[in-house]
Amino acid sequence: MASKLKDVAEVVRTIPDGASIALGGFAIARNVIAVVHELIRQQKRDLTLSQCVMGMDTDLLVGAGLVRRLIVGGGSLDKFGLVQCVNRARENREVEALDMTSLAVCFAYLAGALGLSFLPIKSLLASEVLERLEAGPGAERVRRISCPFTGEQYVALKALNPDVALVHVQAADEQGNCHIHGPKWENEEQAKAAQRIIVIAEEIVPTDLFRQHPTRTVIPAHRVEAVIHQPFGAHPTAVYSCYDYDSEHLELYVRHARSRDGVRDYIEKYIRGSRNFAEYLEKCGGAARLNSLKADPVLGY
């Protein structure tokens, strides 16, 4: 089979303005930072992002002004703080935020992945989360319904079928079979709901490794369009069993993200001012810094 290995810039050129993108990161873990940087360098516009829990990935894309709409459960940078660019954009009504819950976003992906037009859920009822969705552009994604068998009230969630899913994994083969070590949050449902799956892998491994442990394959090759090989591609967020989050860089980012000027400076220096991800990693301290983040093989961090 032909290799699906591609360069990140080449892949991002195929993502059009206005695309809906499912992001595979969670808070400060396995964020698709290498692709986020390239989306910013290529100045994509009017993106719709969906994710159970937003992290630095979404915060950067919103901070760079690329995003029109968010469909999310929540957001956090764990102990490093809030998603400040997202919150500022919401407070100034610069982004349309459809707030749901983690499970609601996951069920909407699951519906999409199963080819269903909706799935019912027992969350959201009797909350302002639902009332706000119903009162705004989120109204197209939720309906109060009753079970045809029992009469019980549910919220019907319209299926999410993003144009593209971007998922950062520990290992893939050149055809796109993927291993994810550690918890997978909503990665399988969002990938299988998407029209196109793009995988960013820390390591490219032989297909025989998948044949030896086939139950571990989370996303199978036949659904994957492209594989990007980018070691430390989630930096400064963590990738279990590969490297820890970079506390110093996350703190630096959070300081910048406090203001519009700050985040603009960050983007100019670290993203637009770098021709590629390798140059960015050099600016963050290069091999010496990255080696210090490498995971202990037993602990995984």
Partner: protein, 253 residues
């Protein structure tokens, strides 16, 4: 021995609300500390679930958050939201949901989304994540939070996760699960009146006066005629908290 800290009283009060053999969905911070403490004392058969897909983890280093690899350590199962929030919580097998809150009102409704400043400016926070799912679906819900008047208002500024909205029953609100059961603060343990569904005092922590609790609560709080004192931590509980569970005092500040 060092004097007992309020956070230690809170962690211990939280742990004692968990029963051996139960299944609990745990949020980060003091809920995590309390459930580890319960497991190492009276509830060795407690099953702890993290929403991102972690079952019965046993961290040996204190994690910075739910996304920290340190909190994945020692787990017996790694899955995802669909398994934990879907096939456990939505399925109806979760006994306890253990949450934090920006605001909580007299009917146990929780806000984790936004606060409104006096100028009218809205400030956003973390949103629901799994909080609304847990509050909607767990058999009983426990909240750990600081006891301040502005954090305990008559009505939350945004109802993210339902307790007893409108003072109505869970069934009238079309919610599964029995709703809020305990609110553990740095001053008291609160419960909910089964008839009116309003928050009431269950016990007050050692050294705190009933008037302090009333003064720091933004809604009328029912007090029993005889107010029990929250049982203080035992020496063994303090040793576990200080030496094993959070020795660097990340959460037990």
């Amino acid at each position: 021995m060092e004097p007992v800290r309020t956070t230690e009283i809170m962690a211990v009060a939280g742990a004692r609300e968990l029963r051996d053999g139960e299944t609990v969905v745990v949020g980060l911070g003091l809920p995590q500390v309390a459930s580890v403490l319960a497991k190492r004392t009276h509830a060795p058969n407690l099953t702890t679930l993290l929403e991102i897909g972690v079952v019965n983890s046993n961290p040996i280093d204190t994690p910075a958050g739910l996304a920290d690899s340190r909190i994945f350590h020692g787990a017996t199962c790694w899955s995802g939201f669909l398994d934990i929030l879907g096939m456990n919580l939505h399925r109806g097998v979760v006994d306890v949901g253990f949450l934090g809150a920006l605001e909580l009102d007299r009917y146990g409704n929780i806000n984790t989304t936004l606060l409104k400043e006096e100028s009218g400016q809205v400030r956003y926070f973390n949103g629901s994540a799994g909080g609304n799912d847990v509050a909607s679906l767990a058999r009983r819900v426990m909240v750990i939070m600081r006891h301040e008047k502005r954090k305990l208002p008559l009505a939350v500024s945004h109802l993210t996760s339902p307790g007893f909205p409108g003072g109505k029953s869970r069934a009238e609100n079309h919610l599964r699960g029995n709703g809020p059961h305990r609110v553990i603060t740095d001053m008291a343990v609160l419960g909910f009146d089964p008839q009116t569904r309003e928050a009431m005092v269950v016990s007050i922590h050692p050294g705190i006066r009933a008037q302090d609790v009333i003064d720091n609560t933004g809604f009328p709080l029912r007090l029993p005629a005889e107010i029990p004192e929250t049982a203080p931590p035992s020496e063994e509980e303090l040793r576990l908290l200080r030496e094993e569970i959070d020795p660097r005092r990340v959460y037990l500040r």
